[in-house]
Symmetry: C2
Subunit: 659 residues, 2 copies
């Protein structure tokens, strides 16, 4: 009782003195000891690490203190959020969702047909993938703004990787089966990552790498469209810029079709103009959104009237009518292709996730609602697993359509249901009308869509902020453009990892000085007015000390000391360095190698008659220093709460030496 | 002029006030601005990063300001340090080296014969590897204490990996050729790592993983010796404990040879006793050092007299007389085996390096001299390349012999030359005498040698200091014991990497409170007496904010805020949280993803009417915050030098709310 009242009083005093802006500077010579945290239970510690790693978002929090039936309902609502938000659904929301759904449907239909071609699949598969997956997502997903369906980059990636295994024309049936197999495993990958709460793995693809990868993929996709845009019949299967440009130039004299180019160019100008209008005035966001559908309608009508297809203008020809057939029996569950499908599926699934989660987070932040990444992954995965059984290929969130969805005022995932219904009607009734749609229009629509993936502004910002990020971005970009999407992806991941490894291998260290008129010690490079303390060298280590950097840290500190000693020798009337203070605030953790390094440092310093002093080691570090009895090696009284305390304890001990 | 005098005065004042122990606490309300470091030249920045990464030890420093001829001499001395220390060599040093050299020679000869068997090679190859490589090392190496030759773990690793490719008995010639090929590439790997200054790569094998790996390898090696020790003829080729024990038990009834066991057991007891004496009294370090040779001589003589080999006691039989033949033409420079040899060589070379560098560093620290890791690698690599051409297999520094070398008072690498000469004489004249040496003795010597690799003390310390390190250690240990050295190594490397990735994905965060009677803010878990400031939440982020953790950091901070808000709601008369101070001292770097996360955090906080405040961002972070104009987003005046400054600026702005 007594103790707690005393504690309360102290706290109150503290608060009072603080709000009245009087500080405890009077009692400053009071030196507070460095705290040793209470020994934690091993099991508890382990459980907490596990929780922080895998359940950082505390997903079970709402389940606390509920009855069993409540838990059951909550569980259902967790898996199918539609049962949660559906109860508050009203007509006003429906109005928004209806408009948004119709808008994205008009955008997605022509895109789907084009994207299916990127994946070397028949056009109807694109539409299939915009019918089933959005329905599943609407029930299970928690993002309100994402628009689900096939996207350009994943289609290209899937097409490239599948093409390496099978020929999409001569081995069409197997190719399709492998595509469904890959889609199935993409879904399984996504569900697994979400279920085992490994969602953080997608964070290992850095923002910079994604910008570069997306830009490169956009350029590659646009280049691929030159086939349809120029009406070239013989075209390379490779996707790198050199092969493509070679193909284009080689066919310049006899392979181009001017009618095709005329149609393509005029509609591309129209689309770009529509985009310009949409950008100029946010109110006209629907202009670029419906422009593709208008282009398709106009151009189809035009070709039908003029019979331009007889002049060599290539047309879509045939889209199968009717909704998705079952493809359960098409998936390879055994044999050679199982493994290949699995490999391709994992890559496509991860890229799909990266895109969808990025979109989800962006819009969730804009409307300020929480998005559970792991739950999203389960939803996206489930939708792809079901999709793979209903003739869909990998679907995910589309950047362009989600933005349109958002601007058109969508309220919930119902806009996806609306879109899905429109696609259903299209499949059932309208597909035959697409017969005369010229390929050049689809090419124009895709070019127009992927252009916005080339984010020069973001790349410029990367250059301004972080040169290393810029290198990663360019590496991914040129990898994709000059080689292939896979190589680009590999480069992106490697550079991202290299950055992490560099960070942990070569942490920064800094010499600290006293900022004038304060008791604060800061990096003298950042604060050139900060002054060094004579006879004392203060080094800050800016990272956890682990096996990967412990030797470097030790040697770097010794090198700082040597540099300083040389400087001192050169100057006159300067005492030699007698104390080395290591500011440990940023050292959040240390392992056995790190402690070995500190011991080595201590020994080396002893030989040079320099005293090692530690300032402000954190709880974990303090704990481990105690456990290894390093504290008793250098002496408890050589560990201080702040650098200022440490310096003031050195000052009286400094030995004056005769020069 | 004026400015510099002023500066000098300020500094002087600072120093004076410091030494008289008067602090600037009087002027404490003076708030110093956060420094923005001067913009650095891009090229300079790049060059410095490069230098810090690859030339952290500044190897060209001695070459500065020297004439061309001096540079040439220095260059020669850098490659061949013997020309540097050789000039100061004297008789006194020779005496130490002579004694040490003879001692390690007596230890190495029996060990070499045994280790060659671990690598499935004829006994003479072990001796060859103790003749040429030490000579080369003596000229090029810079460690004064390391003893070069074949070692148990590398021999076992090489033997296991070679055996997977070729049968050492039926395909003996190719097996040997592959061994030389692997040795060649081990050397090339080592030279390459050293030359391109990639030495830090070996730091990625953590101390903990090495302890476990070595211990596991020791157990495996000891188990393998049961064949020779028990006189078993049919023995498994696998190295895992289950196969070996199965082999041992299966042969218990008819396969064991009691005479062999008797000889082996008695000499093993002798060796262990000798080791005990050596440990008991450091003066008798030579007892365990020469005990193996004595055992060999005694047992050989005994078998020769009693003709115990006719009773089934297996003997060495034949060691080829004469020094190393050339093996230049044996190395596979083309074909299938080139690649296999390369792969094996890289692994064996890395492990060899790890061992040698660890030894070199340990003894360099004891005698306080500098060891250039990268130069060492070039020396070790060169010695293995030459070795591969003179019938040697991979040699490196041996833990046990280096320790004996050190204790016997070696002064320079001349002790290696002495050892090499003794091995030369042995090869030329004495090898036939080993004919009757029983295999059981070699087994005993190896068991005795590898026992000291099982470092239970180190494992216990790991458990005490860092549980994760202990898991890594045990993973490597059980991987080696229950599967194979390769699997163990793979586990060790994977766990080491997992630790690094965990560190960068889930950095620690902490809530800070004011330590009573100071102006210092510290982790309230470490300092339970620290008090929170009402209306203000202070969070410290303990890591650089990179793409791999930026989302986590953002969400974790928001979760701290939610927890805190709940607590505040529960309490009465507490103002709601209106300021969130993020202590950035440990945040040494930030990338574009990190800045995005901060922007997201700022937006979310704005929605909740909480002001984001940053305390003490470092130079790099400050630079990037400026470049991305994040500073103007939250306002320059919301960035403070210290948490105390930030808190005192919040205090007057706190809005009192009616409960």
């Amino acid at each position: 009782m007594d103790r707690s009242t005393e504690e309360a009083q102290t706290k109150e005093m503290d608060i009072r003195s603080l709000s009245s802006s009087h500080h405890h500077s009077q009692s400053e010579r009071y030196i507070h000891k460095v705290g040793v945290p209470p020994k934690q239970n091993l099991f508890k510690e382990f459980r907490e690490t596990l929780k922080e790693t895998f359940f950082a978002d505390d997903p079970l929090r709402p389940f606390k203190d509920r009855s069993r039936s409540q838990k059951f309902i909550l569980g259902i609502q967790t898996i199918f959020p539609i049962f949660e938000w559906g109860r508050k659904y009203n007509l006003k929301k429906l109005r928004g969702d209806l408009i948004a759904g119709l808008t994205i449907a008009s955008l997605c239909i022509p895109q789907d047909i084009g994207y299916a071609k990127l994946a070397n699949l028949d056009p109807q598969y694109g539409l299939y993938s915009s019918f089933v997956p959005p329905l599943i997502y609407a029930f299970m997903g928690s993002s309100r703004d994402i628009a689900i369906g096939p996207v350009a980059v994943v289609s290209l990636l899937l097409g490239t990787m599948l093409q390496n295994e099978l020929d999409p024309i001569n081995e069409k049936a197997q190719y399709q089966r492998l595509a469904f197999t890959a889609t199935f495993f993409a879904g399984i990958t996504q569900v697994t990552l979400g279920f085992f709460r490994l969602g953080f793995l997608i964070d290992f693809l850095s923002h910079a790498a994604i910008v570069g990868f997306m830009g490169g993929a956009a350029v590659t996709i646009a280049l691929q469209q030159l086939k349809g845009f120029l009406g070239i019949k013989k075209f390379t299967k490779k996707s790198d810029i050199i092969s493509v440009m070679h193909s284009v130039v080689a066919s310049a004299h006899h392979g181009w079709n001017w009618q095709t180019i005329a149609i393509g160019a005029s509609f591309l100008s129209f689309l770009l103009f529509a985009k310009f209008i949409g950008k100029k005035n946010k109110k006209f966001f629907w202009v670029p959104a419906i422009a593709p559908l208008i282009s398709v309608i106009l151009s189809t009508f035009f070709v039908y009237i003029t019979r331009a297809d007889k002049q060599g203008v290539q047309i879509v020809k045939n889209i199968k009518k009717g909704i998705n057939p079952s493809s359960v029996n098409e998936i390879y569950f055994s044999g050679d292709y199982l493994l290949k499908g699995f490999r391709i599926g994992v890559v496509a699934g991860m890229i799909g996730l990266t895109e969808a989660i990025a979109i989800g987070r962006t819009f969730a932040a804009m409307k300020d609602y929480q998005l559970d990444g792991n739950k999203e992954m389960v939803a996206l995965g489930a939708m792809n697993v079901v999709g793979s059984m209903t003739s869909c290929y990998v679907a995910t969130g589309s950047f362009s359509r989600s933005a349109v969805n958002f601007m058109a005022g969508c309220e919930t995932a119902v806009s996806n249901i609306v879109m899905s219904c429109v696609v259903f009607l299209t499949l059932e009734f309208i597909t035959p009308l697409f017969k005369y749609t010229p390929n050049a229009i689809l090419a124009s629509i895709i070019i127009n869509a992927v252009i916005s993936l080339i984010d020069i502004g973001a790349a410029t910002l990367l250059w301004k902020i972080d040169k290393f990020d810029f290198v990663a971005c360019m590496g991914a970009f040129f990898g994709v453009v000059f080689s292939s999407v896979e190589i680009g992806l590999l480069i992106a991941v490697s550079i991202s990892f290299a950055k992490i490894l560099l960070q942990v291998t070569r942490p920064r260290t800094a010499i600290l000085g006293k900022v004038p008129r304060t008791t604060v010690y800061r990096n003298i490079q950042q604060y050139p007015e900060a002054t060094k303390v004579p006879g004392v060298l203060i080094v800050r280590v800016d990272s956890a000390i682990y096996f990967s950097n412990s030797n470097y840290v030790k040697e770097r500190i010794l090198r700082w000391l040597e540099d300083e000693e040389e400087e001192v020798k050169a100057a006159t009337y300067q005492p030699r360095i007698q104390f080395l203070i290591v500011e440990m605030s940023p050292v959040t953790d240390i392992d056995t190698s790190g402690i070995h390094a500190l011991e080595g440092l201590h020994r080396s310093l002893e030989k040079r008659e320099v005293q090692l002093i530690l300032a402000n080691p954190g709880p974990v570090v303090m704990d481990k220093l105690h456990a290894s009895s390093f504290t008793s090696l250098i002496g408890e009284d050589n560990i201080f709460l702040t650098v200022a305390d440490a310096v003031s304890s050195c000052a009286p001990k400094l030995v004056e030496e005769q020069p």
